[in-house]
C-alpha cells in the first residue's frame, strides 16, 4: 500500500466528501486537530486495554483509524497539506501504535518480546517511509484482526510485514541512488 494513493482519493475518497465537509466546514476542525483527536482516541484505546475493556478498545482503534484517514483527506481536499501536519502525523502514528502494542503485552494479551519487536519494526519502517514512498500499512488494522484470533499472531504479522517493508524501502532508495550514480559516471 502506498502512503498516498491518488486513485483512492479520486474514486473511493469521494464517498467521504460529505463527511469531510461536515467535519471541516460545519465543525471547523483542521487536519491537525483531527490528528490530535485521533491520537487521543488511540490513547483511550490503550487505556481501555489496560483496564481490560478489550472490546471497547477495539471500537476506539477503529474510530482512531477513521480519524487518521480523514485528516489527510481534509488536508488534500481543502489544500491544507503542510510539512508541520505531515511531521505531526509521522510522530503521533508510531507513538500510538507502540503504546497499543505495549498495552496489549502489559495486560497479558500478548507477549512482551513480540510487542517490543513489533514496535521496533514500526520505528524502522518510519525511517525511510517518505524517501521510499512505500509503507505496507500492516499496523493497527492487524490488531483488530488479533482481537478475533490471537494478539500474538497479530503482533507477529505486524513485525514480519513491517520488517519486510523496511527491507523493500532500503532497496527502493538504493536502486534510485544507483540510477543517479550511473548517470554521473
Amino acid at each position: 500500500m502506498l502512503i498516498y494513493s491518488p486513485l483512492f482519493d479520486q474514486k473511493i475518497g469521494r464517498l467521504f466528501y460529505p463527511l469531510i465537509r461536515v467535519i471541516h466546514e460545519d465543525l471547523g476542525l483542521s487536519p491537525n486537530q483531527l490528528t490530535w483527536i485521533s491520537f487521543g482516541t488511540g490513547t483511550l484505546a490503550a487505556a481501555l486495554i489496560l483496564l481490560g475493556q478489550i472490546g471497547w478498545s477495539m471500537v476506539m482503534i477503529v474510530l482512531a483509524l477513521i480519524l487518521d484517514g480523514l485528516d489527510g483527506m481534509v488536508a488534500r481536499r481543502y489544500k491544507l497539506v503542510s510539512r508541520q501536519g505531515e511531521t505531526l502525523d509521522n510522530i503521533l502514528d508510531p507513538v500510538i501504535e507502540i503504546t497499543l502494542f505495549l498495552a496489549i503485552a502489559v495486560s497479558g494479551y500478548g507477549s512482551i518480546k513480540l510487542a517490543v519487536l513489533a514496535s521496533l519494526a514500526v520505528i524502522l519502517i518510519r525511517l525511510l517511509r517518505k524517501r521510499a514512498g512505500f509503507d505496507p500499512g500492516f499496523k493497527r488494522v492487524v490488531l483488530i484482526f488479533g482481537y478475533f484470533t490471537n494478539f500474538n499472531l497479530a503482533l507477529q504479522i505486524i513485525f514480519v510485514m513491517n520488517l519486510v517493508g523496511y527491507i523493500i524501502q532500503m532497496l527502493i532508495v538504493d536502486y534510485r541512488y544507483q540510477i543517479v550514480l550511473d548517470k554521473k559516471s
Binding site: K113, L117, L120, A121, L124, L127, L128, R131, F159, L163, Y166, I167, M170, L171, V173, D174, Y175, Y177, Q178, I179, L181, D182
Partner: protein, 145 residues
C-alpha cells in the same frame, strides 16, 4: 568475495559450531545466498554497460552493509538464534576485505569506506581465506567422521 569463498567459509562455520536444522538454513542464507541481492541491479548494469565486463561495479545493496544489522538483529531475536547475525558478520567481513568501495550506512548516508588491509592485494586475501577455511572444513569433516 566470490560465491565459492563464501560457501566454503560458511560450510566450515557450520561444521565448527555443529549447527543443525534451521540453523544451517540461516547460516547459508546470511552467509552465502544474501549475495542474490546483486540480481536487483542487473537491469541497471545492462542498461549502462550492456554485456561488457566492468570490474567493481556497485553490485552491493544495503542488504550487504552493516546497516542491515538493524533488521537482521530483530529477526535473530524473533527466531531465537544468533546464527543469522554471526553468518552475516562473516559475510560482511569477507566483502570488506575485498571490495574497495563500501557504503556501510546506505541508504541513510552515502559515506564511503575503503577495504580492510588495502595494501595487501585482494587475490592474496581471498587465497589465504580460501586456504584456511578450506583446510579447517576438511579437518573438521575428518574429525567428525
Amino acid at each position: 568475495m566470490t560465491f565459492i569463498t563464501h560457501t566454503i567459509v560458511t560450510a566450515a562455520g557450520v561444521q565448527l559450531f555443529g549447527l543443525k536444522g534451521m540453523d544451517v538454513f540461516w547460516a547459508y542464507t546470511f552467509g552465502v545466498f544474501i549475495d542474490l541481492d546483486h540480481l536487483i541491479k542487473i537491469p541497471l548494469y545492462l542498461r549502462k554497460y550492456g554485456f561488457k565486463k566492468v570490474r567493481f561495479y556497485n553490485w552491493k545493496t544495503p542488504l550487504q552493509e552493516p546497516i542491515s544489522l538493524s533488521w537482521i538483529l530483530p529477526l535473530s531475536i524473533y527466531f531465537g538464534t544468533l546464527v543469522p547475525v554471526v553468518a552475516f558478520c562473516g559475510h560482511l567481513a569477507l566483502d570488506y576485505l575485498y571490495n574497495p568501495i563500501n557504503r556501510p550506512l546506505m541508504p541513510f548516508s552515502d559515506v564511503i569506506v575503503g577495504k580492510i588491509l588495502p595494501k595487501i592485494p585482494s587475490w592474496v586475501k581471498e587465497g589465504v581465506v580460501l586456504g584456511f577455511f578450506g583446510c579447517l572444513y576438511i579437518v573438521l569433516y575428518l574429525i567428525k567422521k
